[in-house]
Symmetry: C2
Subunit: 227 residues, 2 copies
């Protein structure tokens, strides 16, 4: 599915280079469930942006299903991105649209009829516990509720590959439990490949594989259950 080879990402801050990724190698097969742990500023979100082809690396290669994404044109890249579900660390919901519209919006690009869009959006919002908040706009929702709209939106196009940046960051332990159960069901019943960045060591243990990052490199990569 996805292979990162010597990925580097350097941001230029004026004249000062900031090395967010300093040579990352990672191979993720279809159907895996991976957690990425690491201190604040270690490069986790940057890594996720690379794996989802949302941003270009400074050097190194990213292969998705064997194709080097550097060889794709813009149309091919946006086709690829549509197949990936992405939950950003700070949601990026569109403030003037309601929860239901934020979820429907993503579907409209994938040629789904209006009635079908609405029905699917309502099913997804119900699955994340927001049945009675569908007509609220992001500013009319609590932090945890916004987070759950972002998760429903990421599932809108039935992605086979899901990248989630702190999906339980702003929710209480009960809601976090529900979100984890949803994620595990998607992985085990539908074979969705999931990469989840988290700060929660307990939740990371529920993934099948745990990758640790530190200062822009991967420092460990173990299959869960093994010592």
């Amino acid at each position: 599915l996805v292979e990162a080879i010597e990925l580097k990402k350097t941001y230029m801050l004026g004249k000062v280079p900031v090395e967010a990724l300093r040579g990352v190698n990672l191979k993720v097969e279809s159907g895996e469930f991976l957690a990425i742990l690491g201190p604040s500023g270690s490069g986790k979100s940057t890594m996720l942006n690379m794996l989802g082809a949302l941003d270009k690396p400074t050097s190194g290669k990213l292969l998705i299903d064997g194709i080097d994404i550097a060889t794709l044109n813009d149309n091919q890249l946006s086709d690829l991105r549509r197949r990936v579900g992405f939950v950003f660390q700070f949601f990026n919901l569109i403030p003037r649209f309601t929860a239901r519209e934020n979820v429907e919006l993503v579907m409209s690009i994938a040629d789904v009829g209006k009635a079908e869009r609405r029905k699917r959006a309502e099913e997804l919002l119900e699955a994340v516990g927001l049945k009675d908040r569908m007509n609220h706009k992001p500013t009319e929702l609590s932090g945890g509720q916004q987070q759950r709209v972002a998760i429903a939106r990421a599932l809108a196009n039935n992605p086979k590959f899901l990248l989630m940046d702190e999906p339980t960051g702003n929710v209480d332990s009960k809601t976090a439990r529900e979100i984890m159960n949803l994620i595990k069901r998607l992985n085990e019943e539908r074979g969705v490949t999931i990469i989840m960045v988290t700060h929660d060591q307990h939740l990371a243990r529920e993934a099948k594989r745990v990758v640790q990052m530190f200062d822009g490199v991967i420092t460990s990569d173990v299959v869960n259950g093994e010592p």
Copy 2:
């Protein structure tokens, strides 16, 4: 210091009322350290906005140092708000300013000289571990780094009263530990009154008192260490 009497807050969503607070009574003495726990959507952030006089309740009273804030004019209200440090759940940093400028900005209203502002902003950012990221803008910082800028900014005017909405929500366990140690030091050494909303049950136990909320009301309020 602060007393909430039968506080209610109802948002109108079109014609549909949403009762975020349904009658809350809370008394917080100077120097206390209080944690507020509760499920997503239970009214924690709304409660914090009321206590910091950032938003008006639908009914009920809020007394700060014995004064009913409904009797204050706009100038007196903004004077009051300056004495309160506020860490929002989603930071609200100003994107076009650097970390240092975001901290300095708050000080400029409180008549502090330019050189003094810069020095204080740098000290605060160093205290939260961001010595080498001062010239980054929010979009050039990781999630956890942005959270720490928001904490430094809340401390800029040396507040005696600090309201923090999930101060460790987006950070790793080591950074969360450092933030908690900073909060406890402010409370124990400087006598700062702190109200912290959190989803983390372990961190809540470190406060001196734990208030539980559910569906817009306070369901329990115990002093820590007692059963």
